[in-house]
Symmetry: C2
């Protein structure tokens, strides 16, 4: 397994010792700080060297043309790409006139630590300049969960060689930073090379604000910085400003035991509609508010916020320190991606990098929201309200595609379809059911009636309308959905994709139920009894193909008729070595699709079917997608292959810490990080929500002595502790509630934990994967 | 029906009376002259006004980048686009210092005539200038079938108002003519705006040569002109030259009964490899040769060439003058496209316009070659030799796609795949079987053993290898070909497309047979008995799905499970109003696919199956393609719907004369023009080739009193004359031969025509088309 040469294994932090320029871009993603609103990549304070400089504002994007050599009806004309905005992280240091740069001179000590409990990124550097002067720098960075427009940096410099030292700290805001080209299309690269047009600059002593606007998308942003400076006597501060650069220069002579401390407050504001003064003043106000709170309070509130989160969300693992660390790392970043997104999207990379153009996919609803729903339900609600805010666009897109209801985009920032690959952009309709499913999950987990009557109902209604108009009854009255692309991206445009059909079935059925429950609100959306009946009928008649001969479910109607390829000749990832037509005509699976159905619609499969289906698909799933391992972990655990599940858990959890797909440089894989929680809680915890309530069928691989997780359920805080061979359920806070241990109803009340035995499931023969595609083994066996 | 306001109905010519600027571009295509090597659009002599200026050299193209917003493995990076080369047609006229321009002054008379027997395009203009002077111009243009590098123009000017008249004729060669933008992609438009870089200019009195080279593709071309001038006394000729312009100016004062006559010889040469002097000298030599022959001989040889063609190829129709004209017009242009292409491609638009970027598609082998094979067999052989010359590229493409054998391009000029739409460019494999089929047809029709041992064998072998590696056997031993795109472009990526499977079956079977017959030559291609056996096995096991419930063949394995749409809501052409996924998931057919199989593989269907299949597909075929009507005509005739066949015959034949698809401006639809012959000969003549020989089952609609066609068969010239209710077969020239009248063997010898009765087939109920998509009726019924 590829591992970062220096992340040490510890339960509550990620620490890098030394300088590792070869993985600099990866570490910038790993050390990214975000609150879902603002994101700062873990770039070095002094800006250089850098892998990918990055500062992101949620939903702040530039529009670029999507080129087509052969265009077609319904192809989107414009793409949206996240913009690297004005960088406020920058603090350069001159040491006796020599710039601190870890590529030159000598690095005596270099540590970076991301603390998962305090939310602080700390860096300590001892550096000897080429001319022999030694300096010690300690910087601490935070992006506030509490004040969502604010980030802050504390930057301390000390001499290290016992002699007075002249230093100049240059703290900057800089726009249109150069970086590697963002697109192979020269027109798009040009648009993205310097995306910000300067509109206004404001400078008052150590406070500066730069206002910019994007050329094409016309979005306006302001970035501000203010400084508190604590230095020796005769410390001099000067500042200057230009359209793309504001600088505060602090120069002093440090006595041997003296230090210079800069506290830098950063604030960002942006809008598609508000005026320049309004956006600028918002940033000034945020700076004032940060100043008033002060560094210490920002730090302590950050800690409190995270304490509260871990009380609801922590997952403890005994027996595998690496996974303990990784699962908390994943939870931390999942929180960072969604905590304060507040009606903006949660992109596939969060705000940690420019990967996938900063787009949001179904990853949000199907991988990230399952975690947030049970650990930060307000963030799950916000993400769904964001989807709801794009419903009008989705219905317009549906209309363009000749369909009723909503056709949510396969990939987008603002809500418009941005996929230039039409088998995804006009056929991966399952995203609509995934959104509906996230609504249902949220409603079950929270009982949020207001959401259920409002945005939730509307989302279910419009997605149900989509399915009703997309599918059709055959002569025998069976309902089919033809020509769609399911989760597996090595298939496309198939008929009766089992995952899509089963998710659509649930969507239709629950839309009917919710609309009946909130009849007045549904009527206001134009829903009448006939329409509800049509949804119920389509759901009841939904086709779920099954192959009697092989005794397994086909991924879609024709899947099992295709050739099983000779995997021994394959090079991975296949999509870089094989044309689509060839991928599509073979029984080769990029990421779980039917197995995703086994997880998401487990109620529709018998245990025996699950075991056979899993074994069949395991042999043809090549896992060229980071959306794979956690799903395979869950189903492997359910059918009793606990060691295999453990391996997949490891893969999901270590996706970014070990850079398994070699692209962590472009940002973290939020779905896989969230997937680590899914593997632990849904996989080994056996947690399932259902109409009756939360149900658990825990099971642990031998290597793990203990798994303990917390979660929120209808306002209660609960804790489940799994050991060999028993499980203890505890209500930590809230009114008594029933949960299910397997089929047994268990009543939980505060202070009265309930312990039950669990029996490991009896597995079938060990499944095989395509040659070379088995997950890395966590234990010899 | 939309008809040109002025093409009169006559048997051997197309005549336009008057000026019709609104259809100028269409008429430029209709009046295009070509010999398959050089093509001149029917632009007015004076260059302006013009619809689309166009001069084309076969296979002279520019390369341009193909942009992708989301690229994929195997997508071609470069496209090829036919270039509008140096224009030599241009002869401007100044009448008392006023330029002749039919938009100004007054047009007293304007006629253009394309004579199908002489091959000359004649124009007569009488024009009164804004200042009141009258002039008469008569121009005659030809592109020589005999001297393939040569075109010629005779241009005569006379005064018309009885007074002396000062005139200046400016004859030019002009490169990089401005025209409408050629691409929506700004980069491609830029490449194509001025594609020619000047390399050399040569001027000797009235002879000039311009040498140019394309920027990206690096092709070199030379265009030359020379003049014979016959004018009154004191006629003065001067000439000048510049990188993109050579001019010969002839000025004189015409006496009242005098005239000025310019004879302009044009020559073109081009090459991807030859040196500048070589290409330039080739053009000088061609000019010298044209000069030596002189105008009269060029004209008389052109007539002889065409007389010879019509002796072999003419189709006579009694009872419908419009179709008589149209079918000859189609034959003439089919000949023009292929006559002297000589190892260059026959593009879908011939050399009549820039439509489809000048690309060649399966149109050549499946629509154009069936005509040329029986009317100009040398041209058919040349076209197949061109395909053979690209075999190496096709095998490289196959390798790139992970396949054995050849993967011929869906669209190309030079042989490289240029389709940017991968469901066509990497999945429309049927083109390989179409090429193989054209080889077989040619071999049967000519008995050309040398071709069969050489290029023909190699084409069959490599295409058979493709099918063997593309398809697979299932557990029951049945051979399937999955994930391909058949002829119907409203379906894609389907399993077991019946047309593809049956054509592949024939390809495999005949490759095996030919390789066995020419064992030594096959062995040299690496073919051994095992490989031949594998082809035979795959052919024997080829799956042909059939739906017992409906009693029809599905277009592909799943086609009949798809929804039948509500056609009443559709807008046409559908591809401009509906996304692909939606087209693909419905039972809607753009162009015959299963019905194409009924025509091409009629041996595999019973009469009853044909009738039922045709009726079923007729109801869902929207005919958004010009490749439709002739196929529907053939099968409609076969199953006895003679009036419907007659309507489709009309649509195929009038595609361009009536501009039925509103895009004749971009060039003629060669497949549809050839399709008129197919409708007549294969449809009403009932002509089929088979292992036994040529077979005929003639049938005529009531409106047509007589259909008489000629064709070549194994070196013989034959004639079939169909009347009600008998048919006469006659051997015009050659050794005695057997043909089949239905199942009856008929021996034909010169001077001994054989007459037989035919019985009209008994049709089933009248088929219905989707609402509004029935063909225009040629007769009330």
């Amino acid at each position: 397994m590829i591992t970062h040469p220096a992340f040490s294994v510890e339960p509550w932090a990620i620490t890098e010792e030394g300088v590792h320029l070869e993985v600099l871009a990866q570490s910038e993603s790993v050390f990214a700080l975000s609150n879902g609103h603002i994101g700062l990549r873990g770039n070095l304070d002094e800006g250089e060297p850098s892998g990918l400089p990055g500062t992101y504002l949620n939903a702040f994007y530039e529009t670029r043309p999507l080129p087509y050599a052969e265009a077609g009806y319904g192809y989107p004309e414009d793409g949206q790409t996240v913009v690297n905005v004005t960088n406020g992280k920058l603090i350069r240091l001159l040491v006796d006139d020599e710039p601190l740069d870890i590529r030159y001179g000598e690095v005596l000590h270099h540590t970076r630590t991301l603390d998962l409990r305090t939310g602080l990124l700390t860096r300590q550097v001892c550096w000897r300049s080429p001319s022999g002067r030694e300096v010690e720098v300690r910087s601490i960075r935070l992006v506030s969960f509490v004040q969502r427009s604010v980030a802050a940096i504390r930057y301390e410099v000390r001499g290290h060689d016992g002699a007075p030292l002249r230093v100049v700290a240059q703290s900057a805001l800089t726009a249109n930073e150069p970086g590697p080209p963002r697109s192979a299309d020269p027109r798009a690269a040009e648009v993205l090379a310097a995306p910000l047009m300067a509109e206004e600059q404001e400078l008052h002593h150590a406070r500066a604000v730069l206002v910019h606007r994007t050329r094409q998308s016309g979005l306006r942003m302001a970035a501000g910085m203010d400084h508190l400076i604590d230095g020796p006597d005769r410390t001099v501060t000067v500042s200057d400003i230009a359209p793309d650069l504001a600088r505060v220069l602090v120069s002093c002579e440090l006595p041997p035991d003296g230090s210079l401390t800069l506290t830098k407050y950063l604030a960002y504001g942006w809008s598609s509609r508000r005026s320049l003064p309004s956006v600028r003043d918002q940033v000034d106000a945020a700076l004032a508010s940060a100043n008033r709170a002060g560094w210490d309070q920002l730090v302590s509130r950050q800690h409190e916020y995270l304490d509260d989160f871990w009380e609801r969300a922590d997952v403890e693992i005994d027996g595998d320190g690496e996974l303990q660390q990784a699962v908390r790392f994943g939870l931390f970043h999942t929180l960072q991606a969604g905590a304060r997104a507040e009606q903006r999207a949660i992109p596939a990379k969060g705000l940690t990098g420019p990967g996938y153009d900063g787009h949001v996919f179904w990853d949000t609803e199907s991988f990230v929201l399952p975690v947030l729903t049970y650990t930060a339900p307000h963030a799950a609600a916000d993400a769904l309200r964001w989807r709801h805010s794009t419903l009008r666009l989705a219905c317009e897109r549906g209309k363009q595609l000749g369909l009723e209801g909503s056709a949510f985009p396969w990939r987008t920032i603002r809500g418009q379809e941005c996929s230039a690959y039409w088998p995804a952009g006009t056929a991966a309709f399952h995203i609509n059911a995934d959104i509906a499913d996230a609504v249902l999950r949220y409603l079950r987990a929270t009982g949020d009636e207001e959401f259920g009557r409002g945005a939730g109902l509307e989302l279910l209604v419009e997605t149900a309308r989509l399915w009703r108009s997309l599918g059709h009854h055959d002569a025998a009255g069976v309902f089919h959905i033809d020509g769609v692309t399911g989760p597996d991206e090595y298939s496309a445009l198939v008929d009766d994709n089992v995952y899509t059909n089963l998710m659509a079935e649930r969507n239709l059925r629950n839309a009917a139920e919710l609309a009946s429950r909130h009849a007045a609100e549904a009527a206001a959306l134009g829903v009448d009894d006939e329409e509800i009946a049509a949804w119920r009928d389509a759901a009841a008649a939904m086709h779920v193909p099954y192959d009697e001969r092989l005794g397994v479910h086909p991924q879609d109607a024709d899947f099992l008729n295709h050739a099983v390829p000779d995997f021994s000749t394959f090079e991975y990832p296949l999509l870089l070595h094989m044309p689509y037509f060839q991928l599509y005509q073979q029984q080769v699976v990029k990421q779980p699709d039917l197995v995703m159905a086994l997880m998401s619609r487990g109620d529709r499969f018998t245990a025996d079917q699950k075991a056979r289906d899993f074994a069949y698909y395991e042999a043809i799933t090549v896992r060229d997608s980071s959306l794979s391992a956690c799903v395979q972990a869950v189903v492997a655990a359910e059918v009793g292959h606990l060691e295999l599940a453990y391996d997949y858990f490891g893969e999901a959890a270590l996706m970014d810490l070990a850079d398994l797909e070699h692209n962590t440089r472009d940002g973290l894989h939020m779905a896989s990080l969230a997937g680590a929680w899914i593997a632990a809680v849904v996989g080994f915890g056996g947690a399932r929500d259902s109409r009756r309530g939360m149900m658990f069928r825990p099971r642990l691989p031998a290597a793990l002595a203990r798994l303990c997780f917390r979660f929120m359920w209808r306002g209660r805080r609960l804790r489940v502790e799994v050991r060999h061979p028993q499980v203890t359920y505890e209500l930590l806070e809230g009114e008594p509630v029933d949960i299910f241990h397997g089929d047994e109803r268990v009543r939980l009340a505060e202070g009265a934990p309930q312990t039950r035995h669990w029996t490991p499931p009896v597995p079938g023969p060990e499944p095989v994967q395509p040659p070379g595609r088995a997950p890395a083994r966590r234990r010899q066996r």
